[in-house]
């Protein structure tokens, strides 16, 4: 794999990155992500974390050879393989996993969260491995590199899939500094600060600061480094979401004086790093509803948001040259 690629490209041309995050298992959204390279004519695809889906739909076979399932509050009775195929296609658009099982098998899972989590990991790892293979297939013969990493919602077990298959165009950039072009590198951190959802890869602000310091220590010129940090900077407008009460499951909005309370759910460690190192750009995700742009000194920081559930790929094209962002464009495809 050409780590310092872009052969034949004039040195004055900016390097164009396409960034997206939080696609949570959605098949069409990931396929769009791969096609974004050609569609937007970019040099690299950068993913910002949260690859795994959140729901698993059991398709329970009965004695008559039909299937029962529940989706979005509605019961579904699928009586033919064609109906099953259409249903599962819809599930994959929504980013959900599915598993056919008989009633006895379903009974073993029901109420057994450990067993359910195990099944999630198996299916998510399988899907991620398929995605890596698909990326290699789609990007074969191009100079485009696809950088993948996990987010707070992804388990370490599932992220092993990033190393499961031989890779040429795909780079596992998780917790690494990788070259982007002749003059820029990218540092990636997939952790988030603690959330009300108690997700698999949460770290305290202090722990995230240590991870960032360890990574950036080896970067020769931080001003020519892209920070691909899943969690946005604290109180930056890229991290605004509803405050939730974690004592309920699922967490419920905190209401004060009859109104929901908003707060910044980002990381102070990221704010500090952006202010201190003044990198080329900060790319962030995690808070789906907080699409926007802001600035830390000379450094612009972005969160393109996410609408994976509608099959929409929200993203950002960033053109970088000489350690500066020379142009950017939010996308919604």
């Amino acid at each position: 794999m050409p780590l310092f690629g872009k052969k034949g490209k004039a040195t004055t041309d900016p390097t164009r990155l396409f960034y997206a995050s939080d696609i949570h298992g959605s098949q069409p959204t990931f396929r769009k992500f791969l096609n974004a390279a050609k569609f937007y004519d970019v040099d690299s695809l950068v993913f910002g974390g949260d690859l795994m889906g959140k729901l698993l739909i059991p398709l329970v076979r009965d004695a008559r050879g039909t299937w029962r399932a529940r989706l979005q509050g509605q019961n579904h009775h699928l009586t033919s393989p064609e109906q099953l195929a259409e249903f599962t296609k819809n599930l994959e658009t929504l980013g959900f996993y599915w598993q056919e099982m008989d009633p006895e098998e379903y009974g073993q899972y029901e109420g057994n969260q450990e067993k359910i989590d195990g099944l999630f990991d198996v299916l998510a790892r399988q899907r991620l491995a398929e995605w890596v293979e698909l990326a290699e297939e789609r990007l074969a013969g191009t100079q485009v590199t696809c950088y993948l990493c996990g987010g707070n919602d992804d388990t370490d077990e599932v992220l092993k899939a990033l190393e499961d298959v031989p890779q040429d165009r795909v780079v596992n950039c998780e917790n690494r500094v990788v070259p982007l072009d002749d003059e820029h590198v990218m540092a990636t951190v997939g952790y988030s600060t603690p959330t009300p959802w108690d997700t698999p890869r949460e770290r305290t602000d202090e722990e995230i600061a240590v991870v960032i310091e360890d990574l950036v220590r080896d970067v020769e010129d931080p001003s020519r480094c892209v920070f691909n940090f899943h969690v946005p900077p604290l109180d930056s407008t890229l991290d605004t979401c509803l405050k939730l009460d974690a004592s309920d499951w699922p967490p419920t909005p905190v209401i004060e004086n009859g109104q929901p309370v908003y707060y910044g759910a980002g990381a102070q460690a990221v704010t500090d790093a952006l202010e201190r190192y003044q990198p080329t750009v900060g790319l962030h995700g995690h808070i789906h509803e907080s699409r926007g742009a802001t600035r830390f000194g000379r450094t612009p920081a972005f969160n393109p948001g996410s609408e994976y559930g509608e099959g929409v790929l929200r993203g950002l094209i960033v053109a970088v040259r000489g350690g500066e962002v020379v142009g950017h464009q939010f996308t919604s495809g």
Binding site: D13, P14, R16, H24, P28, R31, K32, N35, A36, F39, Y40, M52, K54, L55, L56, I57, P58, A69, R70, H76, H77, T93, Y109, E110, D153, W197, T199, D235, S236, T237, C241, L242, P251, P253, G258, Q259, P260, Y262, G264, H286, E289, R291, G292, A293, T294, G309, E310, G311, V312, L313, I317, A319, V326, G327, H328, Q329, F330, T331, S332, G333
Partner: protein, 544 residues
Amino acid sequence: MAEAAAPQVFTRRASGLVRVMSPYSAFIYNILTMGVIFPWTYIWAPAAFQGSNLTLGILFAFLFELPIALAYAWLATALPRSGGDYVFQSRVFGGGFGFTVVFAFFVVWILQWVALSGWLLAALGIAPTFLGLGATTGSQFFTDIGTWAASANGIIIISVANALIALVLLVTGFRNYVRFQYVMWYAILISFAVVLVLFLTTDPGSAQGKLDVFAGKVDGVSNFYATARAAALDAGVSFNPPFWLWGTLLVAPIAWTSLQWATYSVEQGGEIKNAHVFRNQLFIIVGSLAATAGMLILLSLAMQKGIGEEGILVASSGYYLGNGSALIGGGYMFPNLIAMGLTASPLIVAIIGVGFILNSFQIVCNCYIGTTRIMVAQGLDGLLPEWFSRVHPKWKTPVNAHLAYFLGALPVIWGFNKVGEWTRWTLGVTFANGAVMVLSALAAALLPYRAAKVYEASPGARYKLGNLPMVTVFGILGFVLGGFMVVSFFFVPELGLAYSSDALPWYIVAGTAAVGLIVYWIMRTTKAQKGIKVEYAFAEIPPE
């Protein structure tokens, strides 16, 4: 035989997305935006289309708007994002078209509504309230305030204060507005109910006497009603016209200037809780439309009971035919002013007045809320400078967009109240706003074909009429029926642009569209020089 229970969904611990504005809040927002309390229909239509049936005209407007509202429900669930109309149209028609139409015909033209809401606050809220209080208490101080509020300088000062207070309320946190909206909602409902009761508990004969007394106290005139009626007759009012079906149909576009705003909540679709749920959008958009249409019809029937067709025509002649004898305290005889004339109680006057003042204030708030969301969406898409899309880190609101809109409104407020020709120049406002909604209905019709993946993933995709998507059916119906109303603004002199003797208002409409196109071209060119194509903001990537 009962079916076996379906298996439950398996979940794991993963983060989720929650939105803020409840569907009920959005429902209220739409009703308040439609401005039930000061619809133009009652003072515009009766004299403009003599022989029309006001109640039936409002019903037609409801029926014409219904497919548009349904089409919007599909759009709002398929694309539940802030910036609504801009998002829909840019997605379906492309960025250049979507930006130009929504920027020119909404963002620019709604500046006129900021000025108008200030005028409503002054002329329909503060002036009649204080004139009414002056008349019922005998206080000259109240009367002087009312008279000042109706003067040009008074209206300008009140309008600027109105826009400034709304700016401060909205930029310091959207939650402040949502909280205050409930105060406005209940005050307006009470005010509206009081107006209804006053009309329903009187009859035309006694109403005329009460209006004589009221106008006598306010303006020092005698025999107000008889004088106003005679002047209306001279101005061309026929007090016993035969029923006119075509005229009744043409009442619909006027009533539509209120009812068309049933869809306005889509501009903040990204902030509405469960905005992608079909029944929520039906409740918010179609529900608010039905509720408001019902209220307007009720008010129409109550006015007929209280002051009769004749009284409605006299009131309307003051606005449409310029009958100066049919003004009270210099103000048009809107339903609230008439209702104040029907009571001798300062408390009732105050209750009505507070409702009108708050609804006027709400109008300027929704001007900001809708247009700033559009500007933020356009800023994020790179079609306006990024400055517009910036959100304040503490208040979490788009402060810059609000500030820009306030500054943009100042010259419009001045022109609206100081430039005699302003109203004629801006006759295109009804056309421009209506055109956005009709084009969004067309966008809905084309959604399954122009943004297939978005449509297929939406909850409305399962509803079909034969092989035709229901959204296409409603979109086409809405486009045709809404198109009738928009075209009537173009060609019917009583309704808008054709009222002018020259083409200047048409050029102004075309000029705003040209401004939109120029802004688009500048932003597109600037971005292209940096290696970025703004078209990428709207293009749907094929997954395969």
